[in-house]
Amino acid sequence: MDYDQARYSRDDQYEPLLAEKNAARVEIDEEDSPLPAELTRDSVELPDLSEPELARHYTRLSQMNWSVESGPYPLGSCTMKYNPSFTEDVAADPNAAVHPDRSARSVQGSLELLCDLQDYLARIGGMDAVTLQPPAGAAGEFAGILVAKAYHEANGNDRNEVVVPASAHGTNFASAAMAGYDVVELPSDEDGRVDVDALDAALSDDTAALMLTNPNTVGLFERDIVDIAEMVHDVGGLLYYDGANLNALLGRGRPGDMGFDIMHYNVHKTFATPHGGGGPGAGPVGVVEELAPYLPSPRVREKGGNYELFDPEESIGKVHGYQGNWLVLVKAYAYIARLGDEGLTDASAKAVLNANYLASQIDYEVPYDPFHHEFAATAGDRDAADVAKRMLDYGVHPPTTKWPEFVPEAMLTEPTEVENRDSLDDLARAFDAAMADSDEELENAPSKTTARRIDQVTAAREPRLSWRALDDESEE
């Protein structure tokens, strides 16, 4: 496939910045200000453009950006699947635009949807109670760990450690550390799964929780999950499920049935709500009955035909100022309802089929199997980051590179269920073509994207983080 990404360029840069097109300074004159001068700023300087100019600027920027609708986006563990258009229309319903401090009686529709979504998620995860408040997956992890902490404290257990496999998402470590826990890192065994002996050694009366992703970050199912759950529970710890890979389990396994006590859902991954270039997402948390009293407040419930917000008795409080990322939750509800039982189950079947098919079509070593919805290929003696840059020239987005760290030159690939065979074949050709290219071609890639290879070292060494910084520089 031949490919060239849009590129608007002028002199020494691509599309100029807003402020470079036109900016103006407005003085705040006391005479026509409603406030005394000592309470106001002196002036405001901002870009000053007409609506047509802005429309063109942002349209150009959009054209210089890759999205799921541009083509395959097989970033492992990110689950970039097609986002149906209708969910946007649904979320844009003017009746859905309400202030978070409205009385419950005046927002029965919103509360009904949230209550139903709590219920759907509980059923999908095999959990007893769900909160929708966390505004992202990592916020869900943090909330979940705080729930575990509150539970242990209420039971008089002073535990200070959270065990996390080396292969886990970095957010697991950070979330546990933020909650004040010491993090015990668990090595993987030679099959890429949790090393049960190492786990045994790591667990103790100090263990508050084990955080697991299942299938894990190379797509491998933790087959010993029942034993693992028993080991964790035997020392009085809780088992936490990171929902990042739930897309591979839908309808075939539920964290609750496997012995997990707490989980978060990445609704922007599993339930195809647009990732928006880095959010908003949403990270609802589900727990077993015993932990429900500690969930963040408020939750939603139905009582006598009416919906209401309520604070769980021993609630940890809030992890978001209001009720979380509402519009994302609306889209998640619409997506789940669109697919239903069969659609959700089929989504995971096709996601797993696609990953396995793609892996079978590329000329790369895949060190660990059998995998589910994603696999870690290795670029071997090539630099995975360079291979990825070259893949850009072939009109596909490359996989996640150099992660997880225990796979050398990892290319963590997750095609999701939305690619058909043709598109997977294109992806496979891009994988193989990049690998077959010379070192020089790799190092000079990409050339067909908006920008050529970007110097990230200078960006970090001499941070220039605003147009003011660029301006100051040019004046020097």
Partner: protein, 440 residues
């Protein structure tokens, strides 16, 4: 109707050929899940067609009462220009991901760089990240930042006694794993009681937090003094505000703010049941302690300016438990919308909008105060966008009656209502006043 996922494009023949290529008989054989934990039940979720679902959800949302919202306290419904809705929904923005491959995601990176730049202009501080979840989490991250950079000097976070309950709760949770303690200081007629704060700061304060405007809508009159108090105690001065207020009120950098937090989605988003955009700006010296993502300018191999995520070693996916924060997915798309809205307004538009917030609130307060049994504003201060009114009758009852008349206002005390007005509701203030008259 399609069985299975309508968004999995495989024909039966394709599926069969792919299974064959993989070397298995059916999809089930690809699942490496032990029998004892396999799920063979039903979720009992009926699939619905797109048309059916749109109708269902439109019926559901129609159960929300159509009220004119004179509500604020941190979540503000300003009018969003059509351009913002239209262009931000282009799929290249909406369905993209975090910019891990900058060469192919220049569009979003530039938009986020511009968002950072707009905040730099408005706060006067040289570093702004490209978003936190909301004002509450931004404040909480600021407290944690103070703990990293002021660890030696103290562990007390001082916040106003009137701090929004949601913010307080999030703050408590974010500092639970640290040695920080949150304490409140008194307010005086809607502004910080600067003398009392001076007594409270002491040597061991890590951060002093104040807001402008305050949660009750009052504009602070002695911000520089608060900044000095914090500075003398070697504590960070964290100022909470919002993006519209930044267009008119004192520039945070000029009053000594070390960190600026608050709600940026006051521009760019309609009321969205609390969805937010946490703004976070700070000084250059704290650059490597900033939570969340930063976009920086660099050059590409052709010598042209290009943008990339930068200083990522601060982040959770590299430093893991030593990261400055666990934030990964943030509010990037909301930041895009906010930047578009600010650019749409331009300097004149933003200043005019901010001025209007002051004058509209002032005149509505005066009209309400003319009614028997109402005194507004309660605080003898200037106000931004909202104010508290004292009512002789119980506030709960008045608010409930107003709701029946089609208006929503806050109840903030037994005899206190809080009213917020923006350009979206300004045309209905006469009706609100008439409704007040009716229910008093």
């Amino acid at each position: 109707m399609t069985r299975g996922s309508p968004y999995a494009p495989h024909t039966d023949a394709e599926t069969a050929a792919m299974l064959d290529a993989v070397g298995v008989d059916d999809e089930e054989s690809l699942f490496d899940i032990p029998e004892e934990v396999r799920f063979d039940g039903e979720f009992d979720i009926d699939a619905r067609g797109e048309r059916e679902l749109r109708a269902e959800l439109s019926r559901t949302f129609a159960k929300n009462r159509d009220l004119t919202e004179f509500l604020g306290r941190g979540h503000h419904g300003h009018y969003v220009p059509a351009l913002v809705d239209d262009i931000s929904r282009r799929s290249e923005f909406l369905t993209s991901y975090t910019q891990y491959q900058p060469e192919i995601t220049q569009g979003f990176l530039q938009a986020l760089f511009e968002y950072q730049s707009l905040l730099v202009e408005l706060t006067g501080l040289p570093v702004a990240n490209c978003s936190m979840y909301d004002a509450a989490t931004a404040l909480a991250e600021a407290a944690r930042l103070s703990n990293r950079v002021r660890r030696v000097s103290g562990d007390r976070i001082l916040v106003p006694e009137t701090l929004h309950a949601g913010k307080r709760s999030v703050l408590d949770n974010y500092v639970a794993g640290t040695d920080l303690a949150v304490e409140t200081y008194p307010m005086d007629d809607g502004n910080v009681d600067v003398d009392a704060l001076g007594d409270a700061v002491g040597e061991d304060a890590s951060m002093v937090y104040a807001e402008n405007p305050t949660v009750r809508g009052a504009i602070e009159e002695r911000l520089s003094e608060i900044g000095e108090l914090a500075d003398e105690a070697d504590a960070l001065f964290c100022l909470g505000t919002d993006i519209v207020a930044l267009g008119l009120l004192e520039e945070p950098a000029s009053v000594g703010a070390d960190v600026v937090v608050g709600e940026a989605d006051a521009l760019g988003m309609p009321t969205s049941y609390g969805m937010g955009l946490g703004l976070f700006a700070t000084r250059e010296s704290f650059l490597r302690q900033v939570p969340g993502r930063l976009v920086g300018a660099s050059e590409d191999a052709g010598g042209k300016r290009a943008y990339t995520l930068t200083l990522q070693t601060r982040e959770q996916h590299i430093r893991k438990e030593r990261a400055t924060s666990n934030i990964c997915t943030n509010q990037a798309w909301v930041a895009l919308r906010t930047a578009m809205h600010v650019a749409y307004l331009g300097p004149d538009g933003l200043v005019e909008l901010a001025k209007r917030c002051v004058t509209d609130a002032e005149s509505l307060a005066a009209e309400l105060s003319d009614l028997k049994g109402v005194k507004a504003p309660v605080h003898d201060r200037h106000h931004f966008r909202e104010f508290v009114a004292h009512t002789d009758q119980p506030a709960e009852a008045i608010a409930a009656d107003l709701e029946r008349e089609g208006f929503a206002v806050h109840v903030v005390g037994e005899h206190e209502l809080q009213v917020c007005v923006t350009e979206s509701t300004a045309a209905k203030t006469d009706e609100l006043v008439a409704a007040f008259e009716e229910v008093l």
